[in-house]
Structure formats: C-alpha cells, structure tokens
C-alpha cells in the first residue's frame, strides 16, 4: 500500500445544519463521476455518503467525513464528537431510529440509515463509545 496512488477529500459536517446537508455527498458523487466509475458503484457510494452525512447532521454533535479513492477501492469514513450510540447492534436493525422530532418533521431519520449503509457496502465497520463518539468505515470494491 505504500506506493499506490490515492486521492482523498475531507469534509466537516455540522450538527443540525439541514440547509446544506447533502453537499458533501454531492461533491463525493461528482468526484466519482469524474473518475469514470460505473454507475451502480457511484449510486451505492452516493447513498452511503448521503446517509452518513445525514446521520452526522441528525444524530451527532457534528464531525468529519473523508473520501479515499484507491485503485481497487473507495473508502468513506466518518468520525463524530458524540454522543455515541448506546446499542450499536440495535441501531443496525432496519426501522430503528433515534431521530429527534425536528429531523422527523423534515422527513429525515426514518431509521434506514445504518442498515442501508451496511447493505450498500462491501466492507463495513462501526465503533462507538457512549459519551465520546462514533467511527464508521464503509468500503466499496472497484473492479
């Protein structure tokens, strides 16, 4: 992995900033298109990026998102500053949501987030610590 060409992009995402929610994932989508990746792959990556971004806006105190493009894989990572997820296993079950009322009114947070992200990923890992934050890594294989 030492010599390989890889490009990376970083985004800061703020809590409750619904107005611009989706702009990081739009940017990610644009980059993947310019790289000439196949549509189904871009579609999966866009959904992952979007769900992750919305998660950061709704469920966390804010955080960062990172896209890494390697010759054989796309990696999307997020890291937030809390509050952390109490029961990660439960959060991975379809239909489970902790979205607050404000988010629900806007139509976000139907509880599709994490399970959807996992389903779209070829490789998925999540680590969370209550009171500290959550780390998510989603990978899609290229080719």
């Amino acid at each position: 992995m030492t010599e390989e060409v890889a490009a990376s992009f970083d985004y800061e995402i703020e809590k409750d900033d619904f107005k611009i929610a989706g702009s990081a994932s739009s940017h990610i989508k644009k980059i993947l298109k310019q790289l000439g990746l196949p549509n189904p792959l871009i579609r999966r990556a866009s959904i992952i990026a979007y769900e992750l971004e919305i998660n950061l806006v709704i469920h966390t105190f804010g955080g960062s998102m990172r896209l890494e493009v390697h010759p054989d894989r796309i990696v999307i990572l997020t890291e937030d500053v809390g509050p952390g997820i109490e029961d990660v296993d439960q959060a991975l079950i379809e239909g489970y949501s902790t979205a607050n009322d404000k988010a629900r009114e806007m139509g976000f947070g139907a509880g599709m987030g994490l399970p959807n992200i996992r389903r779209c990923s070829d490789d998925f890992s999540i680590r969370s610590k209550l009171g500290e934050g959550t780390w998510i890594r989603s990978e899609i294989h290229v080719g």
Partner: protein, 427 residues
C-alpha cells in the same frame, strides 16, 4: 446547415465582448472564454439556452430555417408548438390563428397538441403499471434528456419511453398526408414553429429516435410579426380545416401540465435547468424513490418560458387559461380515424450516456489527475472570478491538467509571479 454533432445555439463573434456571463450560467460548464470570445464545447452543450438568457449583448444566434424553405416542398405542413397560441394576448380565436398560419404559405396546420391526446393516456399507464424505474422522468424536454446523458447517466433508466408531442405529431401529420393524397416523403415538408433551440437541435441531431419527421424548424419569434399583421386584417377563419388545436391540451406547455393532464398525482414538477439538476441530484442520492413522476423542464415555467417565444411566460399562462376556457371544440374531426390507428408514440433508439467529464479512461491515471486538480485548486484563490476564461477555479485546474489551459491564465497567479520577479530584481 448543421452537422450531426451541431447545436442550434451559436456565439456571434461580432457582438460577444467576452464578458463571461454566459460561461458562469452554463449548467454543464460547456463555455470557455478565449481571447475575449466565448467558445461553446459542442460535446457538452445541452441546448438549455442559459447562455442566451444571461447575455447582455444579444450575442447569440440560432441556426434555424425560415419561411423561404416552403418553396422546396410540394406539400407543406406547419406544426406550431403548443406555446404558439399563448403568444397572442389580444385573444384571437384558435381557428383564426390557424387560418393566419395557413396564410403564411402552408398547406396544412397540424397541432402539437393533437399528440397530447395519445400521449397523456400512455404516460398514465406507464406510471400506474410501474413500467419504468421510479421516479419516472418525463421525456418531453430534449435539454433535460441531454442533461441526463451528460451529467446524470445513472438516470437514463428512469426516462419515460414515449416521444415528445411534436415528434409524435410530425409523424402523424406526415402519415396522414401520405395516405390521403399519396405524396412521397420527400414531397412533404414538415415545419415546426419552435419555442426553443433545444427542439431545433433535436431535429438535426435527434435523441431517442433515428430521424426526425420534421424538415425545417423556425423560431416562433421569427414568424410572430407576420402572423400579427395577417391577424390584424382577419376576423373570421378562412378554411374548412382551420381549427387544428385542442385548446384543452394547451396546459401541457406549462409547468405541472403534463402530470395533471395525465392524471398522475404523486409527482414533482420542476422547471429551470439548475433546479432540475438539484432534483436529479436528490434522485441519485436515493431520496426521491417514493415519487412516481418527475416533470422536468429546462425553461422556467415550462415551455412557455422557452427563449424563442415572444410573450412573458406568466402572461402566456394566462392566455392559455383563457383559450382553454373558450375552447370552441369541433376541431379537425376528419383526421380522427387516421389517428386512431397511429402507433408511433415511443422512442425507438436507446439513449446512451455521454460522459464528457471523465478525467481519464484509465482509473489509476484518473486518480492521479484528480490529485493534481486538487493540488492546483488549492493554490488558486477560490474566487471563481472567471478572468481566466474558465467558469471557476476548479474548472481551470481541470483544464490545466487536461492540457487545455495554463497556470498563467490566472490573473492572481500572474500578479504573484510579477511580484516575485520584482523582489528578485531588487535584491
């Protein structure tokens, strides 16, 4: 005339000042300004007319036909766009309007609106029976289809498989005259009075069909004066087949009209190419999977907002309402039997992606170029001032990496270089 890859919109070098406004407004970043002149990259242009609308110097021309072309055919049919009737606020009746069109020299007036009758039921059927991936995107506007081709190719599967009213109408009219009078295809000239350059391009450079049934397109604004003069001397219709439009089909040309007339409830009607792009972004993110139908028009307000119309789109909408209310029925019954057997409603050719933004066919090389673009972009000011002739700093960086521009094109970079030189000299 225009070649296969050509577009109707052209820049007029005698008027263009290189002000960069069109460049900033183009949704596909198709324009660059080189040596004070705007240049359109044909591969990227989608005929949306944003450049025409944003130009303060009227520096665009439209490559189109004219009434002169009538003499090249034995039998001529004119198809006025649905928006045509909406251009006359004085309230001439539809049959009078159609007679005025005949007086321009055409043998038959055939309305785009007649095709709407056939189309609206198909649209509903396709939506109700889930025949296409949802949300289904209307195929009405060629600029929108080209936007999908160039920037949203993952949405090609969502495009409604039906053709647009004018192409259906052109085929109908052609068949009708062939059957009725025995003319051959080359004898018949089908003319279209167009509200937009997108439809003009679509005749020479068609998408979704092998060949257009239209021969000549003329901007509505080019015949407006003639029609107005004829109208001023005419009170009553002059020919027996003069009522060629169904006024109740006119709302198809305004935003939301297609969905409403087709009886589709769960729809989004979006107009204005930049807003259309935003909705397409949302579809690609999987946000609008629950929506049945997207009626997307490049022009604000729908086709009434087309740049080759005369009347303000909002006034045009009021004119449409008035005409629809006073509809005098009894139109053109004679063709109903021919039309009843008419089948050419669907697009016949596949719509293929046209990705003009890909950095390199080789993925590893593309990543390498992407890194260079990021690196160059970070060295540019980020003002997106356009002085370099590219629409924004990132676009300049892309051009540099693709060998189409130089770092020196950036005025700030030049200034900095200059300062450094001065420092060197003073040392």
């Amino acid at each position: 005339m225009m070649g296969k890859d050509a577009h109707a919109v052209k820049v007029r070098a005698d008027r263009c000042t290189g002000c960069t406004r069109c460049m900033q407004s183009c949704p596909t970043e198709a324009i660059r300004v080189k040596e004070g002149l705007a240049i359109i990259n044909a591969a990227r242009c989608i005929d949306c007319s944003q450049c025409i609308e944003s130009c303060p110097f009227d520096a665009h021309s439209i490559d189109s036909g004219s009434l002169e072309d009538i003499k090249n055919f034995k039998y001529t049919i004119v198809i006025p766009a649905i928006t045509f009737a909406a251009q006359f606020s004085g309230g001439p009746k539809i049959d009078v309007l159609c007679s005025a069109l005949r007086k321009l020299g055409f043998d038959l007036v055939f309305s785009e609106g007649l095709a709407v009758d056939y189309l609206k039921d198909r649209v509903r059927e396709i939506v109700v029976n889930n025949q296409v991936k949802k949300p289904i995107i209307s195929s009405h506007c060629p600029a929108v289809i080209r936007l999908i081709q160039t920037k949203y190719s993952s949405l090609i599967d969502h495009i409604m498989p039906t053709g647009s009213p004018v192409d259906i109408a052109a085929n109908m009219a052609r068949n009708l005259i062939k059957e009725k009078y025995g003319y051959s295809d080359s004898d018949i000239g089908v003319f279209y009075l167009s509200p937009c350059p997108a439809r003009i391009t679509n005749v020479v450079n068609p998408i979704g069909m092998q060949e257009s049934a239209i021969n000549v397109t003329i901007p509505i604004k080019d015949v407006y004066g003639d029609v107005l003069r004829i109208l001023s001397g005419m009170k009553e219709p002059v020919s027996e087949f003069s009522n060629c439009m169904k006024p109740e089909n006119l709302p198809w040309a305004e935003v939301g009209g297609q969905a409403k007339m087709s009886g589709v409830d769960n729809y989004i009607a979006v107009s204005g190419i930049h807003e259309v792009a935003k909705v397409f972004d949302q579809i690609e993110m999987g946000e609008l999977d629950e929506v049945d139908f997207i009626e997307a028009s490049s022009c604000t307000g729908g086709c009434v907002g087309g740049p080759l119309n005369i009347e303000n789109p909002f006034v045009a909408q009021r004119n449409i309402r008035r005409l629809a209310e006073n509809s005098s029925q009894g139109y053109f019954q004679m063709i109903d039997s021919v039309l009843a057997q008419f089948k050419h409603i669907y697009l016949t050719e596949e719509i293929s992606p046209k990705q003009t933004n890909i950095l390199d066919e080789d993925f590893t090389k593309a990543i390498e170029k992407m890194k260079q673009i990021e690196e160059i972009t970070s060295r540019l000011r980020g003002l997106d001032c356009g002085s370099c002739g590219a629409p924004n700093c990132r676009a300049l960086a892309e051009d540099i990496v693709q060998g189409k521009a130089r770092m020196e094109d950036c005025v700030f970079y030049q200034e900095q270089q200059h300062l450094w030189r001065l420092e060197d000299e003073s040392e």
